[in-house]
């Protein structure tokens, strides 16, 4: 089963720059490997990752087969108000997962 690991500080001061770390379990099959009988193993990767804060997109990434299995992505954002981060991973074979994390800004 797909599962996400999210690391967002629970609290921050207004105007702080915080780091967000995300990891989604996924095989990230490149589509360039072969089975012993010579068939190509079909590509199965996450192609898109998006992070929204209170509904507004703050970070987005396009992923390619060169991203390692279990994609780990970290980035930064400035927090100005309390709210909820929503994370979304979309990929091949109808893969779609979401996760969320809340932050309290003082």
């Amino acid at each position: 089963m797909a599962s996400a690991l999210i690391n967002v500080p629970a609290k921050a001061k207004r105007g702080d720059i915080i780091e967000i770390k995300t990891l989604m379990s996924h095989i990230m099959e490149t589509g360039y490997r072969h089975t012993a009988t010579g068939e190509v193993v079909p590509r199965d990767i996450i192609t898109s990752f998006t992070c929204r804060f209170n509904g507004a997109e703050i970070f987005r990434a396009d992923l390619f087969p060169a991203i390692s299995a279990n994609p780990f992505i970290t980035f930064f954002t400035t927090v100005t108000q309390s709210g909820k981060f929503e994370f979304e991973w979309i990929g091949d074979k109808g893969f779609s997962e979401t996760a969320s994390a809340s932050i309290t800004v003082e």
Binding site: I17, Y32, F59, A61, L63, I67, S68, I73
Partner: protein, 139 residues
């Protein structure tokens, strides 16, 4: 007769420097790419090409009038020249992203940042891989 049988070896698909250049052109639309501002942190020697930590940071105030719009990372010798595209904005506060990448061979990695004024800046790094990511491995 036991003649010479030509041995046809099928080489793995491999991005060439030409593919790298064309992938970069797709992003920049031919605009000039200057060297500088971008810092690409990746180990110079890795044992395992399947998971190589990489951090790209850009020297930018990240203000509404002057910020990094996107960061694009490319490689020279994987089957595909693209590694990832990352889109950020002034709210990011710090123009830095990290991830883990696969490298099929010892090669050059290129990171390009697009700034809000439309200029492009780049940095590159060479990585020696002792155990490549398994594009050829039988499973």
């Amino acid at each position: 007769m036991a003649g010479a049988v030509p041995i046809v070896t099928v080489r793995p698909a491999e991005a060439t420097p030409a593919m790298l250049a064309s992938a970069i052109r797709n992003v920049t639309n031919g605009a000039a790419v200057k060297t500088g501002k971008v810092k690409l942190d990746i180990p110079p020697l890795v044992e395992n090409g399947n998971t190589v930590p990489m951090t790209v940071s850009v020297d930018s105030p990240m203000a509404p009038e002057d910020h990094v719009a996107s960061i694009h990372v490319f490689n020279e010798k994987n089957p595909q020249p693209n590694i990832g595209n990352f889109y950020l904005g002034p709210h990011a506060g710090r123009a830095q992203v990290s991830t883990r990448v696969r490298l099929a061979d010892s090669q050059k990695i290129v990171a390009i940042a697009k700034l809000s004024d439309g200029s492009y800046w780049s940095a590159s790094a060479d990585v020696v891989v002792t155990l490549a990511a398994c594009t050829e491995e039988l499973i």
